[in-house]
Each structure stands twice: as C-alpha cells, then as structure tokens.
C-alpha cells in the first residue's frame, strides 16, 4: 500500500494535541508503515512544505497573520484538512478573552513592549478554511486520534459523534454530579467521546470538548439556575474552552 503523505502543524496552542499523537508510542511504528509524516515541525526537522498532502492535521487557533497564511497554504496543498483539538475546533483557551479590548489585554500581559502587537482575536479554523473533519478535546482522546488515522489510511473520515458527555457517563453508571451533587457539570452541553473521563473521577465536566449538536442551552440554564448557578457563572465556564457559545 502506498504511504499517505501527511502534514501536521501547530498554530496558537500549547502543542499538547500534537504531543498526544507522539504519545501513542506503541502505535508509532505501525503509523510509520502507513504514513509519511512529511511536514511535522514539532517532531522532525528540517520541515519544509513540498508538493501535495493526502491529509493535514492542524492544532491550535489562528491569532497571528502568518498563521492564516500557513493554514491557507496547507489547505491548498491537502485533500483533507482535520482540526485537531478544541482550539482548532472552537477557539479554545486562547480565545477565552475574545470580546474584550485587544490592546488592553496585550498591555496587561506585555506592558509597553511591542511584543504580540500583530495578534488578533483568536479564531477557530473553520472561520478561515473548509474543515473536513474534527477531533475535539483538550487534548483529544488517544483512541479517537488512532481511529482518525486508521480511517484516513483507508480514505474515510471519522463518524461525527452527536451525543453529550452524559451518555457515556450513564453507560459507565456514574453518579450524576449535576442532579445528585448539584455540581456545575457541563456534561449535558458538551460533546461526548471522552468516556466521561472527568465525571468518572468525580470531577464535573468542564466542557473541554465544545458544544454537542442540538445543545439545549435554555433548559440547561434553567437547571443550573435551580442549582444556584447564575447565567454569568455558566457563561464563563462554557466559554473557557469555547468562546463561540452564544449566551
């Protein structure tokens, strides 16, 4: 079988998603049989873009002019473009303060120094290019990453999950932290696929995987209000990972 040519790039993010891929140590030898990781600056140098790619995986959001150019360049060269991780899918923590005055934010971090003067409000990838598939999560689940790669090797994109964290939480027969402990658990609004990793350890869902399709925000806000959480508290929690929540 011909090896697939793949590029893996990071924009504004912590590199944790790319690292999750490199952490699949047991599977790396098999990956190398299926893929040629041609452009992967975090893992190998020199990294020079060249020719066309079967797929590119992009971590992070866009916050600097050169990132937009890089992303568009990758898009032009690739058959599939996959958003890797929450920042790429919905903006993530870098976009936490979107909506606030940009120059003030810059000065509070860098002072009078002109560092980061070229940055703009972080954007998820889909605002700039067409995204063919997404693997969300902060960071993504190893299993999902491997399934994505295995699928790409056969020319198929992953099936999008459409259920919230609660579904897998119930499958694991966990105590419901929202109804039984009145915790601000974002499970009902957050895309599943993580096997309810946090609630299974007694930690309320922080919403790191972004919104589930058809999220019923109005009802969830009513339930949270009954538990004593006002709209501002819920909004801040939701927007920690996904600034695009409208509330």
């Amino acid at each position: 079988m011909k090896k697939l040519r793949v590029a893996i790039a990071g924009l504004t993010a912590c590199s944790g998603c790319q690292l999750s891929l490199l952490n699949c140590e047991d599977e790396l030898p098999r990956m190398l049989e299926l893929f040629e990781f041609h452009y992967f600056p975090m893992a190998s140098s020199p990294a020079l873009m060249e020719g066309e790619y079967d797929a590119v995986l992009v971590e992070g959001c866009l916050s600097m002019p050169h990132e937009k150019e890089l992303l568009q360049e990758l898009r032009r060269r690739s058959r599939y473009l996959v958003a890797l991780g929450t920042c790429a899918v919905c903006g993530g923590v870098a976009a936490l303060r979107n909506g606030e005055e940009r120059e003030q934010l810059r000065q509070s971090v860098y002072g009078e120094n002109q560092v980061a003067s070229e940055t703009y409000e972080p954007l998820p990838l889909h605002r700039v290019v067409q995204v063919d598939a997404a693997v969300t999560g902060c960071p993504p689940e190893k299993e999902e990453l491997l399934r994505l790669l295995a699928g790409l090797a056969r020319g198929v994109l992953p099936v999008a999950i459409d259920y919230p964290v609660c579904t897998e939480c119930r499958m694991r027969e966990n105590l419901c932290l929202l109804t039984e402990r009145s915790a601000l658990c974002l499970g009902p609004l957050t895309l599943g696929g993580c096997s309810a990793r946090c609630p299974s350890l007694g930690v309320p869902c922080e919403g790191c995987r972004g919104p589930v399709p058809e999220a019923n925000l109005a009802e969830a806000l009513e339930i949270y209000a009954e538990k004593g959480f006002d709209k501002a508290t819920v909004r801040d929690r939701l927007r920690r990972f996904c600034p695009e929540w409208k509330l």
Partner: protein, 329 residues
C-alpha cells in the same frame, strides 16, 4: 403444601450456597451511594432495600459498547469470541424481569442474536417482590410482558417466601432445601400481578402527532439519552466499523443508541426521518406505550420509573400515557 420460606438470618447462608452454582450478582450500593447490579462480595449482603439500580440488568445482555465482529484479510469477519461465565442475578424486581422478557422476545425471536443468546443462556434469574414508589408505573399501566424468573422471593417480615419458576429453579431449591422452612403466615399479594396481562396486546391507533405535549417535551429535553440508557427495554443500538492501524483489519462495534439523538433516524446524505426532537418524542412514546414492528401491540414500558428518576429535566411521559392509554387494572 404450605409455601416454603427462608428466614432472614439464613439469607447470608443462602447467598453462600448460591455462590457454589455461579458467580453471584445483585444490587450493591457503592460508596458514592449509587446502587448498581454488581458482584456481591463474599460475606456481604446485596442492598435489597433499594427500589431500582441505576442501569437495568440489560447491561449483562447487551453491553453499552462492545465489539461484535472482527475482520482480518485472512479470516474475513469472525464473531467476537467471548468467555461467558454462568451468572446468578439475585434480587431482580418484577419490572426488570419483565424487561428481560421483552429483550428475549426481541433478541431471541425470529433471528436470534448470537451474543445475546450466549449470554442469556448463562443467566439464572432470582426475582424479589417490591412495593412501587411514586416513580413506578407498573401498578398504573399493567404490562403484557411476563415477569419470569428461575426463583422468586416474596418478602415477609420474617424472611423470604421462595417459589421456583423453572427446572433451574427446582435445582437451586433442592440445593438449599435444608435452609427452608414451612411458611404458616399469610402470603402477601404477588408483586408480579401487574405483569402478564395479555388483553393489553392489542393494536391501538397511532397517537395524535399534533398533541402540544410532543413540543413541550422537546423544549425541555437535553438529549442526554439517560431515559433510554437506563430503560430496561430500550435496546436500540448503533453499529460502527473501525479500521485497524494496518492495511488489513477492522472491528465492528455495537453501542447503545437513543431515539432522541440527532443521528438516530439520519441516513446517508444527511436526510433525517425525524429531524425535530418533538417527532422523536412521539416515536419514543409509540415504542414505549404501543410497541411496533413484530412487537406491535406490546408496550415496552415495564413501569420501573428509571426514566423519570434520571432525567435531569424531570421529564415524565407517564401522565400523558395515563391519559392516552387509560387502561385501568
């Protein structure tokens, strides 16, 4: 012959004796307070006071997520090999027994499911009586399903009256006969009396799709799936195939699905037969209270109350069902 009973102080002995036949599972309260069907540790007692476990016993027959087929280029598709052990499920309430009866009709009917059949054959069911609480509806909407078990225990103050319902039950009774005494007192009403009402097996007209209730349910539903995941008779599943990280293997996975999910009625090309959540509630209602397909006329709600208990939005189809079904016992 007077009924036989086992005195409360002999319950630990009964459990130890049953353990000789198979692994023993029953309702166990975890440290987090959640009651689940789980292994009863030697020397401990199951929680027989709990009215319902979080997940019903269907989890033993259909796992939430499981590989059903494995593919390799050399062997093609092969059934997933499974090490099935004999299991005694102790302390099943009549509703859960009826739930298993329903699943049996679905999965052992015209085209038996091999995984289900293999697991079902290893189960011994020991039922126990109970008293409905405000969430239950077995006593309001009786079911045509049968609450069948190998042994059935009926609680009285001093212990449990024991009756057998199968050759397997006879075998177990014979093995514990030295622990049994004759019961001289009154026998309470049978908890299973709400089940097996065959006259309810009649095809009824379709529920009115224009009722405002469907929209009302939809506006509150979070789409979390708890109602059907925790339902003893919801068996809808999704089938996914994942390729291996090589050029020649794959696994086919079956996982619990839910009729309230967006993808449940979605087909190739993105067309959806039930685009709106309100339509999905009507669909759910039809399955739970009218039945469809080969089991048309057989309502699948066994009245366990789990859907009402677990719904974060407190949704409850029962008042509507009481109005639309209106079948006094």
């Amino acid at each position: 012959m007077a009924p036989q009973y086992i005195a409360n102080h002999n319950l630990p002995l009964l459990l130890e004796r049953l353990r000789r036949y198979a692994e023993l599972h029953g309702p166990v309260r975890g440290e987090d307070g959640v009651v689940r069907f789980a292994a009863i540790a030697p020397g401990t007692l199951p929680d027989l006071s709990a009215l319902r476990t979080l997940l019903p016993p269907k989890k033993y027959l259909l796992h939430p997520q499981e590989t059903i087929l494995n593919y390799t280029a050399a062997a093609g598709y092969q059934l997933q090999a499974e090490d099935v052990r004999s299991l005694i499920l102790f302390g099943l309430h009549p509703c859960d027994l009826a739930g298993i009866n329903y699943l049996d009709r679905v999965f052992l009917g015209d085209a038996p499911d091999p995984l289900y059949a293999a697991r079902r054959a290893t189960l011994t069911l020991i039922g126990i009586s109970c008293t409905p609480d405000e969430f239950c509806s077995c006593h309001i909407l009786p079911s045509p399903l049968n609450a069948l078990s190998d042994l059935f225990l009926c609680s009285v103050d001093e212990g449990l009256i024991v009756t057998s319902g199968s050759p397997r039950g006879d075998e177990l009774l014979d093995g514990v006969k030295d622990l049994l005494e004759e019961w001289e007192g009154a026998v309470p009403e049978d908890s299973r009396r709400f089940f097996g009402h065959a006259e309810a097996e009649q095809v009824r007209p379709e529920p009115d799709a224009t009722l405002p209730e469907w929209q009302e349910f939809a506006s509150h539903c979070l789409g979390c799936g708890a109602c059907s995941l925790c339902c003893p008779t919801c068996y809808c599943f999704d089938v996914l195939e994942f390729c291996g990280l090589d050029s020649c293997s794959a696994e086919r996975v079956r996982q619990w699905d839910n009729c309230l999910f967006k993808s449940h009625a979605e087909v190739a090309g993105g067309t959806n037969f039930r685009k709106e959540r309100a339509e999905r509630f009507l669909y759910r209602y039809r399955h739970k209270y009218r039945g469809f397909g080969p089991l048309q006329g057989v309502p699948s709600c066994v009245g366990c109350g789990r859907c009402r208990v677990v719904c974060p939005a407190g949704l409850d189809l029962r008042p509507l069902a009481e109005r639309l079904e209106g079948r006094p016992l």
